[in-house]
Symmetry: C2
């Protein structure tokens, strides 16, 4: 059995019991709300995780790259939404997937993009299913619900013979809030906006069967989802310190940690040097502007117990510096001798996971199993 | 021929003429200073780059992980310094490399670590070559030059029959400066400290043949290197916006860029949405606290011409938002229509490179060639 003491460090560890709990919590909630759930697999890019999500009841997946679509299609997932605006240079790759039997949906938020998809579809004899991206919070892409352009995109798709599959939105700005009241407001705004866009399309004679929304904070907050058919979320499967600060998980729900080894000290400064630098943690400092800044991560014992006040306060490529917040710990070298193994909870599970070629899935027995993940485009 | 228009985006592009120029500049400088040069390969983890460094005159390499040591040893590089404090759990991997003929040097900065190396060496009958890490600027690991511990480490190595190969230091705090005067000061401090440590060891009867120092800013600033035998530096091979702000390269020296495609707009906000988000750029915001904040990167045309004032102002996983610093560009959608290809200069070449499975080496002819890189531990 390979346990945490046998792994090379740094290593990304997934607490599978916590992961299963997180999956169960989301799926149960979605079923109670009467919507289907399409997890965003960009967080993990890892087949065993996605298989667990599907086994729990997820219907289809969301991807952020066509490589994700290819990898998960090869593994047997057919219902795939590529949720990044499509451009003409990526259409041949999308076409190849569809020709192989993948039920790939693509998205557009401009007449130009819709026309390009339409032209390519006609040229190649392919009827692409396109969803229109709706902007419900101004944080990134999409068409706001009342814009005239919404109907323009639908018409461009229809006139080229493409299939308008629905509308989708992502209230990414929900990450910026940390009170239930604000999360209620943004989740209702997300729902309201995307439903309104669907209504406008239907009033103009377009079918618009799918109404899709989601982000982890809104999915875990929204009290009802009238008019919505599906929810998407990604990071909920592992959670992280940013989500903890937002207020949608306990610190004990965080399923991803980075296993590290103490390699040195600067005793008079109260520093422990570990072999988890930014290469292992990522450069994500997502908690910097939140109510609790965890540096590059929260330190835990090997068994996963949170060491309150100890964070990775600084990081070089392969060196992390652990210190106590506030007053320096003069006893830190004795507390954590060279060779001590610790686990660090990450700010942002998507970013930290991306630094690692594999996860080590940790069972309740203490045994670990390699779960490969992929990267690149 | 695969040119920049044929690549899938996002993609990491290396301007090989710039890279060769950067290699030449450093090597020429080191030869003039009368020291040998040992590049840090953690920046690129890419064989063709390291081969170019060695062809130009580099002697040996520095690595940040044992995986780098293994990969480059398999490719024929034998003289390798693993410049991260050694712990007992990594010694079997180091031993295996040495047994295969790799001239691997390891480092220590505590009596405990030196004793652990000594015990393992005796047990396995291996004489490890160990360099002692010196702290010359307080930024991370190492023993300060006047500490009693310095001799304790040397004695621990000697009494276990290990080989004390030398001393090394890395003034990583040089990244925090941006005037020639400050860089002169820190580079002299780095030289002075490591030479002093070597003198103390020699006065106590230890040979200490190697005196090694370096960081890109100090290597490119220090006017003379009396008492030093070798210099190490990594990021100089590509440079980046952080180094530009530090003042050791022109923006036109930056050899790494991320090729991206415009996928949408938010016209009234003056935003262009591109397919290079933080997954392609990394989450490194190293210029945030410097004199010129470039957001997540500086925007250039496909041909590499800097578009002054246009930066990646915000980034999600696979979406970057480009905007003009200061007043919004109301004409941005016409300036950069959907499908436009741009190139983004990174804040930190080490972090950006790490997000990509390969570089696309761009020759003066416009042709590109795949240069694989690796990751993980």
């Amino acid at each position: 059995m390979t346990g945490l003491l046998e792994l090379n460090t740094p290593a990304a560890v997934v607490d599978t019991a916590r992961m299963e709990h997180n999956i169960e919590r989301m799926q149960t909630r979605m079923e109670a709300l009467g919507v289907s759930f399409r997890p965003h697999v960009k967080t993990t890019k890892c087949l065993p995780v996605v298989q667990a999500q599907i086994a729990a009841g997820a219907r289809g997946i969301t991807v952020s790259t066509l490589k994700e679509a290819e990898q998960f299609f090869d593994a047997g997932v057919t219902d795939i939404l590529y949720a990044v605006g499509m451009v003409v240079t990526k259409l041949p790759q999308a076409l190849a997937l569809r020709r192989r039997g993948c039920d790939l949906k693509i998205i557009a938020d401009s007449v130009a993009a819709a026309e390009a998809i339409g032209a390519f579809g006609r040229e190649t004899g392919e009827v692409f299913e396109v969803w229109i991206e709706i902007d419900t919070d101004g944080h990134r892409s999409g068409i706001t619900p009342e814009e005239e352009k919404l109907l323009g995109v639908a018409r461009a798709l229809e006139s080229a013979g493409m299939k308008l599959g629905g509308v989708l939105t992502h209230a990414g700005s929900s990450y910026d809030y940390d009170t239930h009241e604000d999360l209620m407001k943004i989740s209702e705004q997300e729902r309201n906006g995307v439903v309104r866009a669907a209504e406008r399309l239907r009033a103009a004679g377009f079918a618009c069967p799918v109404v899709s929304l989601g982000s982890t904070p809104t999915a875990l907050t929204v009290p009802k989802l009238d008019g919505v058919t599906e929810v998407r979320a990604g990071v909920y499967v592992f959670f992280d310190l940013v989500m903890h600060n937002v207020g949608v998980c306990d610190i004990s729900d965080i399923a991803l940690s980075v296993l590290t080894t103490v390699i040195g000290h600067q005793e008079e400064k109260g520093w422990v040097i570990v072999d988890a630098g930014w290469m292992a943690m990522s450069r994500d400092r997502g908690t910097q502007k939140q109510k609790h800044d965890f540096g590059f991560g929260q330190v835990c014992t090997l068994a996963g117990q949170v060491l309150d006040g100890y964070v990775v306060s600084s990081a070089n490529q392969e060196h992390g510096i652990i210190s106590r917040v506030g007053d320096a710990d003069g006893d830190i070298a004795r507390r954590f001798p060279i060779g001590t193994r610790l686990r660090i909870l990450p700010n942002h599970a998507c970013a930290t996971g991306a630094q690692h070629p594999e996860y080590h899935a940790l069972a309740a027995s203490g045994a670990t199993k390699v779960w490969p993940r992929f990267y690149g485009w």
